[in-house]
């Protein structure tokens, strides 16, 4: 069922449902493009030389995410173990907390 | 009126419990006897506090009994050293009196309660008297008063365990031997000098010079008191006496009796004999230091293997006395200070521990460690008290026990005896083991019985926690203990001519220098 139109959900949920679609992405892209264009309209006071490169911040951020995702993927491939790896000495392998336990905790 | 009473505080210190004791018997009602005991012990604790406040600055109070001037008459002579010990004994006495009412309900036949209170008051009188008096023979008299009443008190444990009778009998034999040795020593001194007043003895001994009679007197007094203070290997009476006595008696004895004996040892070593001739120093350093170290280890290891909590604590006491003796035998000011502070701290800590054990005995009728499994959940206050005091016994920072060990280690380092410092730390680790055994049983093991155990009565919880909080308080605020002990150490050192008494007060430099 589509959360945007499900009237059994609260209003905020429906609003968030809209974000969960493509609209948010394209809104973001629009904002990004506008912000990137501002680089050409507005002259920044840079401290480092490389800051002056147009689209430096935008590119750096996107590259950072890419690097991070790749690094994360490599780490996951290398270091991922089952949840029972340290059992019984850690909480990772334990079943979800039951309702009354959560209330006590 | 008040000042008139306070003028006689030294006499009243011992007279109040002395009069209260026969009153208990005369009235013959146990609840009334308890009220009398509590009142008398509280009053004498107040007197002790007053005397301590008077002497903390290093001044000396002299009181002539019967108006006969010393050296002929008996003199009560109070300085910072014995005022401090008086304070320990009297304040522990007051707490024990409060604690006793419920505790003995379970352990002593109600018909004997009156006699318990009487014996307790007499024991208190004796211990206070030993401490306060300035007359060597008077020391012996009071020592006997306290010892005889102690034998009675230990024997009262027969209601719980018949072996208390044998323990009391053995203690009687050994205690009497000790007292006899002591009085033989006093006899030699009297033969030599013709006086019994301690201050006078000191002067005459100094004037007389070294001789063999003096040495024999010293040896007899040393061994006699060594037995009374449970110096290893003369401690054999202690474990049985402590473990078979009624719990409240264990509390009282552990916190006071050996401490008073240590005081007597200090008094004779420093004030009466002085260190002019070297033979005492040699005795201390060649005999007491090794014995103290052996006590620290052997008794701690024995404690680890004990299955009965009271017995374990008793052996731990022997080890702790080792620390005190070690501090004294170092013959420097930090060492003496450490010994005297540990006198106090150990009284508080061991008192608290035995009180907690007494509560366990009260509720579950046993002090065996395996019967205490799971008690941490059932008697949370007392179990927590035991743990808190146990930390003090180990010497964890912020407890009183740490302060003692800190001074003691300082003292050994001042002597350059770093190996002693290592041994002290090492034996503290043994304390970790035996305290942990109990903690493990109390908190981590499954409860041994299903029947719910009730919380201890408040009249036991309150004094126990006063002791525990005191042990924590004196671990943080060392003003009272530190000052009293260092004044006492100063006085003792002044009384002799130890050349090497160094001016290094541990930790004197302030932060931010």
């Amino acid at each position: 069922m589509n959360a945007k139109t499900d009237t059994s959900l609260p209003a905020i949920a429906r609003l968030l449902g809209r974000l969960d679609g493509r609209m948010l992405f394209w809104l973001l892209v629009l904002a990004g493009v506008l912000l990137a264009l501002s680089d050409f309209a507005y002259h920044r006071h840079e401290i480092f030389d490389f800051e002056a490169v147009p689209l430096f911040y935008a590119g750096f951020a996107a590259a950072s995410v890419l690097v991070l995702v790749l690094a994360g993927g490599i780490f996951r491939a290398l270091f991922k173990r089952g949840e029972n790896f340290y059992a019984p000495f850690s909480t990772d392998s334990e079943p979800p907390l039951k309702a009354q336990e959560r209330d006590h905790a | 009126m008040l000042s008139a009473i306070l003028a006689h505080a030294p006499a009243l210190q011992t007279v109040v419990p002395l009069i209260a004791a026969p009153l208990c018997v005369l009235f013959g009602r146990r609840h009334l006897a308890w009220a009398i005991t509590l009142a008398a012990s509280l009053i004498s604790a107040l007197f002790a506090a007053y005397l301590l406040a008077q002497t903390l600055d290093g001044s000396v109070i002299s009181y002539e009994l019967g108006g006969w001037a010393p050296p002929l008459g008996i003199e009560y002579r109070i300085d910072a050293v014995n005022a401090f010990v008086l304070f320990i004994v009297a304040s522990v006495g007051a707490l024990v009196a409060l604690y006793a009412r419920e505790s003995i309900e379970q352990e002593i036949d109600p018909a004997l309660h009156v006699y318990f209170y009487t014996a307790f008051l007499l024991c208190l009188t004796g211990l206070l008297g030993v401490t306060i008096t300035g007359d060597a023979f008077n020391v012996f008299v009071f020592l006997e008063i306290s010892s005889l009443s102690t034998y009675t008190l230990v024997a009262l444990g027969a209601g719980r365990d018949q072996r208390a009778l044998t323990a009391a009998y053995n203690y009687l034999i050994m205690g009497t031997i000790g007292a006899t040795f002591f009085v033989i020593g006093i006899g030699f001194l009297y033969m030599l000098t013709g006086t019994l007043n301690m201050a006078d003895l000191a002067e005459r001994i100094a004037a007389l010079g070294d001789n063999r009679t003096l040495r024999i007197a010293f040896v007899f007094i040393f061994v006699g008191i060594g037995l009374k203070l449970a110096m290893f290997p003369l401690h054999l009476w202690l474990p049985n006496a402590y473990s078979y006595a009624p719990s409240v008696v264990s509390v009282f004895l552990a916190a006071t009796a050996t401490k008073v004996a240590v005081y007597v040892m200090l008094r004779f070593l420093f004030t009466v004999f002085g260190f002019d001739y070297g033979f005492q120093a040699a005795t201390l350093q060649t005999i007491v230091v090794p014995l103290a170290v052996i006590a620290m280890f052997a008794s701690s290891i024995v404690a680890i293997f004990q299955s009965d909590l009271k017995r374990m604590l008793a052996y731990s006491s022997v080890a702790q006395i080792g620390y005190i003796l070690l501090g004294i035998s170092l013959l420097n000011k930090p060492g003496l200070t450490a010994g005297i502070i540990h006198l106090f701290n150990h009284a508080v800590i061991k008192g608290a521990l035995f009180m907690a054990v007494g509560a366990f005995v009260y509720r579950i009728g046993s002090s065996r460690i395996e019967d205490l499994r799971g008690i941490g959940k059932q008697m949370p206050w007392m179990a927590a008290a035991f743990v808190a005091a146990g930390l003090g016994l180990i010497g964890v920072p912020l407890t009183a026990g740490f302060i003692s060990k800190w001074y003691l280690i300082q003292a050994t380092l001042d002597e350059g005896a770093w190996w002693l410092a290592l041994l002290i730390v090492g034996s503290s680790l043994l304390a970790v083991i035996y305290v942990w055994r109990v903690v493990e049983a109390m908190y981590l093991a499954a409860p041994v019985q299903d029947a719910p155990v009730k919380k201890a009565p408040w009249s036991m919880i309150v004094p126990t926690w006063i002791m525990v909080l005191a042990s924590l308080y004196f671990g943080i605020n060392t003003e009272l203990t530190g000052k009293a002990a260092s004044t006492a150490a100063d006085l003792l050192i002044q009384a002799t001519q130890i050349e090497k008494a160094p001016e290094t007060v541990p930790g004197a430099p302030a932060a931010g220098e």
Partner: protein, 145 residues
């Protein structure tokens, strides 16, 4: 010892003089040898003799144990009470000089009172000890010796 007639008669004759002698030792103590300790023991001997010869029950009737125990306390109380009385009269503890108009008489009264206290306690303690030992049921019967 019912059948020991001689013993019974002799004891009956001896007991009063023993008591009298005890009192003599007690009160003559400040002039000659004697005093509370000795007098107390002698005093107690009279009772103990009575107990041995005429049976414990007779003795119990004559001096009930609970009374004896109170006397133990009483003697001590007299001793300490004299000392405290001195305090109230303005002297030090046990300063007998304050007990009378002059020091000499004061010392005299004081020592008499204190010795009396000692005497009472010692006598009572001795009788108590006798009770304690004699009341104990023998672990081995007389006939089995």
């Amino acid at each position: 010892m019912h059948h020991h007639l001689i013993l019974r008669v002799v004891s009956k004759m001896l007991i009063p003089p023993i008591l009298l002698y005890a009192l003599y030792v007690q009160f003559h103590g400040d002039f000659g040898p004697g005093g509370g300790f000795q007098a107390g023991v002698i005093f107690a001997v009279a009772f103990i003799l009575y107990g041995i010869v005429f049976s414990l029950d007779h003795l119990r009737r004559a001096v009930p144990p609970h009374i004896v125990r109170r006397f133990v306390a009483l003697g001590l109380l007299i001793y300490a009470g004299v000392g405290v009385a001195n305090l109230f009269l303005g002297g030090n503890f046990l300063d007998y000089s304050t007990l009378a108009h002059d020091a000499k008489h004061g010392q005299h009264y004081g020592i008499l009172l204190v010795e009396l206290g000692v005497g009472i306690t010692v006598a009572a303690v001795m009788i108590s000890i006798f009770f304690a030992f004699a009341s104990r049921p023998p672990t081995i019967k007389d006939t089995d010796w």
